[in-house]
Every structure is written in C-alpha cells, then in structure tokens.
Amino acid sequence: MRRRLRRIGALVRLSLLELWRRNDLFALLVLALALLVPLSLARPFGTAGATRFYDDAALLLVWGYSIFVSLGVGARLFPGEFASRSIYPLLAKPVSRGELLAGKYVGGVVAAWSALAFFYALWAVSSALRGGDGLSLCLLQAFALHAVFSALVVAAAVAGSFLLTPSANATLLAILFPAMLFFGRRLPEFAEGARGPVRLLARAAYWIAPHAEFFDMRQRLVHGWGGVDPAVFLAAAGYGIAYALLLLLLARFLFERKSL
C-alpha cells in the first residue's frame, strides 16, 4: 500500500510540476488577474447593482479560466506521454495502468484546484475589502462545488483523450461544458417546444450530458443569497463525483485495451 501511494504521489508531483512550469498558463494567469482584480475592486458610482454586475463578470472569468485550466490539464495528461514516448519507460516500471491513470488524474485535479483556490481566495479578499462577507459558508460551498466540477472536467478530458485526437477532444469539451453551464437548465423547455428527433436529442442531452449548472453558485455569491441547503449541496457534489468516477472507469477500460 505504501509503495502504491508513493507511485501515485510521484505521478501527482509530476503533473503539478508540468502545470506550473508551462509558460502559457502563466501568461493566461497574468491576463486573468489583470482583468479580475480591477473588476472585483471597482465601485462604479457607488451603485450596488453595478457593483454586483462587476462581481458577476469577475466570477464568470474565474469559471472560464477554470474550464480552460481543467481542460488543458486533463486533455494533455496522456496524449503528451504518447507523443513524447515517455509512456514507454514509465509503463516498463512496476506501475499498473490503473495506478498510472489514478496518479495522473489526481495530479491533474490538484493542479486545477490549486489555480481555482488562488482565484477564490483573491475574490474572497476583494469581497472582504469592499465590506462583503469575505469567507462565508456560501463561498466555501461555491468553491467546493466548483472544485467538484473541475474534477469532472478533468475526468471528461482524460476519458476523451483515449477516444479523440487532443484538439478534437479539447474543442468538443470546450463547447459542451460552457453550453451546459449556460443552457443546460433550459433543455427541458427547449425539448417541450421541439418536435421529432430534435426533441429526442434535447431530452437525451439533458439526461446524459454533465450538468455544469448544478455546480454554479455565482448568483448566490453575487446577490448575497447565502448557501444552499446541505442536502442539495451533497446531492450536487455526489452527482459530480459519481459522474467523474464513471468517466474514469471508461478511461481505464480504454487505456487497458490500448496498444502501445
């Protein structure tokens, strides 16, 4: 067990090193910060409504950045190893494909979470400076659900990387997750108004596609509505974890059968 943990720990560290030594992520981080900080600190004309609008925009940026980071990390975990052939000496070591998948996945998730935690901490500080709640139950719930969502995105990107080319995988998921975030809750309405195969497709999408909107607490944070009921919070988190596990099982099935 100790050896297994060491193996997984080594893979986690590698994923973190890879993320933090990539210059393109730093460039994006700086860009996001440059946009996020002024938006969060701004008090246009002292109007509460306008301040909330800026808060909403700042949190939207956090969501956009987290999807980018999670997809970027998840979609590169395995294709990079295959392209550079570093997968060969790695799998020649006493590590199973399941352990490799688990270690790289956990590493990818921790990397995505570290970026997410940084942004939420920044938002909490700016909120406190403006006389807001700062560190509140609502913020903790929002962060936790967002973290589950990130883990789900990484799992989807990992599973997709065994089925599609890296660019096709990243493009498809970059459309799917934002589409579900903004339009997922409206799919039943859309299905009601549609006919024939479109109706069927909309209903299928509602039941099959991952519901990103379940993890989105931006409106509660912005308008100060407080946290959600613990049962609702646990149900949403459980849904995300179960969905991520299903995707990881699919990824493992595909990886075990992949010829190298």
Binding site: L11, L17, Y88, K93, S259
Partner: protein
C-alpha cells in the same frame, strides 16, 4: 546459473494483416548479454515491447522471471531504455530520477543515494541542474540508462542504445555496459551497430521479417569460419544461411 531471465515460446504478434513477429522462440540466461539484430521492421521493437509488457502477444507465451510481464510486480526486476529518449523536458535529471524512483515505489533516501551514484556513473553530475531540454542526444541516452538502472534491476532491456552517440560517448556507454555485465546483470539490447554488438555480447539473435533466423554465441563466429559478426549477419540475411 542456467536459470532463464526471460523465455518467449512460439510468440506471434500481428497488427491487422501485418505479422510483425512470427513464431518467435527466444530466451536469455542469467548474466548473459545478447544483441538483438535485424533490419528495420524485422520485429525487434515489437518483441521488446512484448517482453516488457507494453504489448500482448497475439499467440504464444512470454515469461519474465517466470512471471507475466503484464504484471507490474514482475516488471520491478527490469530496467528499460527506449530507442528515442524523450523524457520530460521541463525536469532536470535529478527530478527525473526522483520521479521514476517514486514510480518504482522507492523511498526518498534510497532514491537520493542511488541518484548520486548513478549521476557519477553516467557522468551527468555536472549537468544535474540543467533541464533535460538542454541535453544533447548522448546526454539524454545517459539519463535514459540512469533511469533504467535506478531500481537496480536484474535485467536491462535496451532498444537501440548506441543510436546517435558520438564515438567517445559510445566507448563510455560500452564500458558502462561491461561494468554492468561484470556485476552479473543480464542485458538484452537491439542494435544496428554490429561492431559494438560483437564487442559486448555473449550471444546474438538475428531477426528477419518477424522470425528469429539465428540465435547463437558470438565467440563461435571465428571458429565457424564466418570471421566476424558482419559476415554472419550478411550471410544470414542475404543468403539465408542459418547456423
């Protein structure tokens, strides 16, 4: 000393209609150094991939230390260096070895001490802080052999280890492999370098179109009147003369 470190029996591997390895039977005795020769596309790399558990044979059996190479625990006794040594360009060689040590389940103290020994052995101690992306081909090969030796394996499997090395690096590498042989390590390597193979090996196996058409000791070559390995290689491949 007759215990075999690996045994391949009637192994076949197909990729669609292409039969990359066809009815291959081959073994390596403990402490033996065998060169695995053949033209491009002869099935050497496919055989090596089956040997280290990366590929499953279509038929036949592969036994490594009496076990299945697909089993992670069995692979703890082998060290593998791939033909093209592309590792993680953003790591330095110490970080690379720390990573592979962790993957092997080694504790940090052991990894640290082995790293220092190996960096001296492969002469990379002075370049240990440089990222791998700044390494030359020869330095990457040495980093590759260091990662293969890190967990002190009983069998070394090397895919084209001399490719791209300059003459000095070849001599260093050859001497390193000799030291490992003298320590009782079994070594199996594929190569196109007949001279290096003849200097290093006890045995050679020659592949042609997925089949092993010669497997025998190197020191019999002169006695057979074949003169040297190059002559044997050409005889076997071109004239179909099998010893």
């Amino acid at each position: 000393m007759n215990e075999n470190v690996f045994e391949l029996s009637g192994v076949c591997r197909s990729f669609g209609a292409l039969k990359a390895v066809d009815d291959l039977t081959l073994s390596l005795a403990r402490g033996e150094v065998t060169g695995f020769l053949g033209t491009n596309g002869a099935g050497k790399t496919t055989t090596i991939k089956m040997l280290i558990g990366l590929l499953r044979p279509t038929s036949g059996t592969v036994r490594l230390f009496g076990g299945d190479p697909a089993d992670a625990a069995t692979r703890a006794r082998i060290g593998y260096m791939p033909e093209t040594a592309y590792y993680y360009p953003y790591l330095n060689v110490r970080e690379l070895l720390a990573f592979y040590g962790g993957v092997c389940g080694m504790d940090r103290r052991t990894v640290r001490s082995r790293t220092e020994e190996l960096l001296e052995e492969v002469e990379l101690a002075d370049a240990a802080r440089r990222p791998l992306r700044t390494y030359s081909k020869g330095m990457l090969q040495r980093a590759g052999i260091a990662q293969a030796l890190l967990h002190d394996p009983d069998l070394l499997v090397l895919d084209e280890p001399f490719t791209g090395l300059d003459p000095l690096a070849r001599i260093h590498f050859r001497n390193l492999l000799r030291r490992l042989r003298d320590r009782g390590k079994s070594i199996f390597f594929s190569s196109h370098e007949l001279g290096e193979t003849e200097l290093l090996c006890d045995h050679v196996a020659i592949m042609k179109r997925g089949r092993c058409i010669y497997h025998g000791p190197v020191d019999r070559l002169a006695g057979d009147g074949r003169g040297n390995l190059e002559r044997l290689f050409l005889d076997v491949l071109e004239k179909g003369v099998v010893a």
